[in-house]
Subunit: 347 residues, 4 copies
């Protein structure tokens, strides 16, 4: 008899949610007969065509298993091992991938102190040195996360300034878009406007946190960068044999604006959560709620008590800052119930 799992919706992460029904339906529908493995199939070609609908032609798209894989391989495509990647000191690639970027690419990641989760072109300019000096790693990539690890969203001009600096200095701009959908809807942009049109060179396009069962895409916007990516992906252990099942998830996500509907909903739930939490004076919202996450400073004693009912992550432990995320399936009732519980604990 199959296991019975209790599975209350919570606010720990958008990857604690399951599969959006439209995506699961696509998986079920694709489960017929045999198709060639490793992406040489019509499902994959159709999914890539969907990416071209959204991002325009002249792009190269590759699917990976997860975000770590997409980020690391996207960086590897741009780098040789003596290169360096500039990123925020709270970037997921810097803090939450167990050193996978360094291990796999050989490169150094250089952390810049974040401001509301972001880094600026000015910081990059200040960090730009040692060029041509054999003792120094050579700066090659600026990597940003959009929406950020602090739930904020880069403004278009901020990204454009980073892209411009990169391109003026023979560097590239990589965007970790695990939650790019949340950022695009926050800014009222299309996916293309939020990425390619701002000068992003390589995008990690996130699916898993926006209702997919699993899968991310690496999207190259500049010709010539991905010529050997098939080999990097295979050697990087990220080649899916039954590729059709990740392809159809992406196709569903990019069909009828499911990506937007899901992200818009999650963002709206986060704003509602913020609004409800602000009613408790003991809860301080620490960064602007611009996507689907709320970061709050709460009394230390409350952290564990809330966690007895709702699992979630402490974000900056020293400062009692916690993270609460909304997802495509969060309901208004979930939010109100959770906020009420928090209020009860902190008061």
């Amino acid at each position: 008899m199959p296991v019975q799992v209790q599975s209350r919706r919570g606010f720990a992460s958008d990857n604690n949610a399951g599969i959006h029904p439209e995506i699961l339906e696509a998986i079920v529908r694709a489960n017929s007969g045999h198709v060639r493995a490793y992406g040489d199939d019509d499902y994959t070609r159709a999914a890539i065509a969907k990416f071209e609908e959204h991002f325009g032609s002249g792009i190269d798209v590759f699917f990976t298993f997860n975000g770590t894989g997409a980020n690391v391989l996207g960086l590897q495509a741009l780098n040789r091992p003596y290169h360096a990647v500039l990123c925020s000191d709270y970037a997921h690639i810097y803090t939450d991938e167990c050193g996978a970027p360094e291990k796999h690419t050989g490169c150094k990641l250089i952390p810049l102190p974040h401001h509301d989760g972001k880094i600026t072109a000015d910081q990059v300019r200040h960090a730009y040195h040692g060029i041509g000096d054999q003792h120094h790693v050579q700066l090659r990539v600026i990597s940003i996360t959009q929406s950020t690890e602090m739930g904020t969203v880069y403004q278009p001009g901020e990204i454009r300034a980073l892209a411009d600096f990169a391109h003026q200095h023979d560097m590239f701009l990589h965007l970790d878009g695990a939650r790019i959908a949340n950022a695009a809807v926050s800014l009222g942009q299309s996916l293309r406007e939020a990425t390619r049109d701002l000068g992003v060179d390589v995008l990690t396009f996130g699916g898993t946190k926006n209702g997919m069962m699993g899968g991310e895409a690496v999207v190259f916007f500049r010709p010539g960068l991905s010529e050997d990516f098939l080999f990097l992906r295979k050697q990087g252990m990220q080649l899916n044999s039954k590729m059709r099942f990740v392809a159809v998830q992406f196709e569903a996500l990019l069909t009828n604006d499911l990506w937007r509907r899901s992200a818009e909903h999650a963002n709206r739930m986060a704003r509602l959560l913020e609004q409800e939490l602000r009613k408790s004076p003991q809860v301080r919202i620490v960064w602007p709620v611009e996507a689907n996450g709320v970061f709050a400073q709460i009394p230390r004693a409350a952290i564990a008590k809330i966690m007895e009912r709702y699992f979630y992550y402490s974000w900056i432990e020293d400062e009692c800052i916690v993270r609460w995320m909304c997802s495509f399936d969060t309901t208004e009732e979930d939010v109100r119930e959770f906020a009420a519980f928090v209020a009860q604990i902190v008061n």
Copy 2:
């Protein structure tokens, strides 16, 4: 409107098949509510309990995305970079993973010429040298594939002899079990009898080729080998956030002997295919059909002509040896229709 894909069942690979209905059903059933990410959930614990039912207690089980990941990380757990892995010259890890084992572990893979897809303890003994010599890589692991890349199956005594040599020389035995189910049913063994009881130290337990949508498991049979495997897996980019969906696939595979039913069927179809093909004197079966694959030498001109209707892989191009695989969903009709088509072409 979703893509319409023509998807005739063929004989290219067992990974060209889709998802077994019992497994897909398990995925659908698990798609409810939120659960913790990264394997800290009851679905994953239940799946691991299923492994313990089959393999006994005192094992450590970790899920990965794919076979490359499972093999490479399983080897990394046993090795430091100056170690070496002995394997067949046709081992999947040697020829078909784009150098992932070397890239990721830093180790050298030393190929031994296969006999019917297998290597022997005698070959290993002959290759055993340079121990303690700082100029040489140090032999650390024997890696075999069961069933083999040539569709044959190691006899229990053959595996036991390799395990004994390994353990007498401070080495380990790794088994790439992408098709271990096919081997176990071929030998009339339980999963445990086919692996742990023969002295295997680390097993890559295959799911994808036996009806899963995607997922493999690394199973450690010896205490102390996997103490830091959580870190190896994360840094190795093989940690699934929505782990429940791979866990329930394994649980289904290991429930009511689905693994056995599927493998038995695939093996039976392969024997039927062999029998049908043997009717054509121009088709020479080159290795014993002991699992779910048939390897045949056919006239060079026929290779491309058959491929016009059925995609498949040329296995040893110089010698006109091709590979045809059966899977859980291959039907007798599929086999007869294909064999008739082959007969028509080669005659």
Copy 3:
């Protein structure tokens, strides 16, 4: 006809100096007949015995070609790729080895902001987190440089505090001793007192900057850490075939306190340089002169002008901080002439 090189003694680096005569003499003396390669020779055994005279028995000593090799391999001996190394943001391993530590070990280096070139146990305590969390690199090594990249010297208690923290938290203390001789004489300590007795686990013992032609040593003070170091060194491309010629250099350096005489002289010259430079009010000495380097903030316009006659390195370009190093062969006359020249330029 051999090239005629003009070779004024300067203050760019102690590695701009040549070979101390006593060391060169040892090389010449060892150049007789054949001896076994790769360190299996009496010269090497004699040199190791010299290390045991200075550091005590129960140590393991290995020679490498250069400091990068010694540091990187010393760290690799302590680490697996998912580990992390805490160091100062101006540590040589962090800024001046072109990413060799990350490339070779796979580990992340985590920079802590330096204070006068040093890091503190308090900083390490604050950085200590994520232990046991599979998403985070696992802290494993604290690495410090003595004397520091800023010409200062850790006090014994400061090192002891770092060692204690390390050992209480299942970590190791690595000391990059490219200039450990300068530090030991500055503190009036023996080599052992300056390292092993303070809790250092692994030492990079520098020879090149203290009058050797080339060569560094990795010294392990704790049993069990170096069991496979022969393989790490060979695979790390740091095994010298004609080992006798590096061994005799170390033997000379450790004989009749040459290491101490040379370092004492260089330190004294640095103090003299400081004293002379302080006569110019436009020259601000920025860090205490405790070893053989003087770091000065000078008018921006002077930087290039001084460099026309004396090559040297700008240390922190934005702040016009430059570095001037003394070596075993620096003379008082060199110092006075240089200081006079600087004075003339800055005034």
Copy 4:
């Protein structure tokens, strides 16, 4: 008092010899004053000019510490990690560098069975497959050793055929020239004729085994291959700070044909040794003596007995094949005395 080492000249290896007097003299001469570190000095420029005298202009030359470093970095300059290197199964890079090439470049080395120490263009043609297939490593480099690990010498046409195959298939030819001098004199060629003129793309030019104290050079004959080699070398831990002392050794080696005189002498001594050994019917010379090594099959019982007086390496243990090398300082008396001793033991 310095160690007294007994140092009979033997036949274990040309790297058991010391420093040629002309080279040691150059070191002593260069030991004056300060020069810039890391190769930015006139000694280094003069040495590179010497290389251009011998090899022609339009080359790029970099010095490394040892042969492992030169080989591995030379290969890395040509490869990305999913590439493969074809070499003989007895190539030094394959068997004697403890896996350094795989560890550092990430690439697979594919061994081809040697014939008298050589591989042929036909073998390479046979091994050429999997091109463009993402599952396979991509062939990128053919690496040969000249003179070979078996003491034989490739004929010019054999190298030219390998170079032609390489260049017709978008591959490169790397030559491990640890003993290129011995090969060139054996063939009566200049260094350029023996390498660049035959189509070699990258050369490891050996110094250590031809009378240098230590040092090898990587020489690039094709523009564009070495653009980032400075970074590869530094990150590869092969950058010498006191570069002048390796540079002047090369300058001496390339002055007044010292390279040729030394190699000619060593080769002549090997021929003499062969001639003397052939007088004992129990000694079978197994490969043509074309450079400075003699490989002999001797009675098993003799192997250890000879080694009691003369240390040397067993080359193929199973077959009782041993290796005896001559060097620049081997005398006729050494040879006769050794041959007489061998004769006495085997008879």
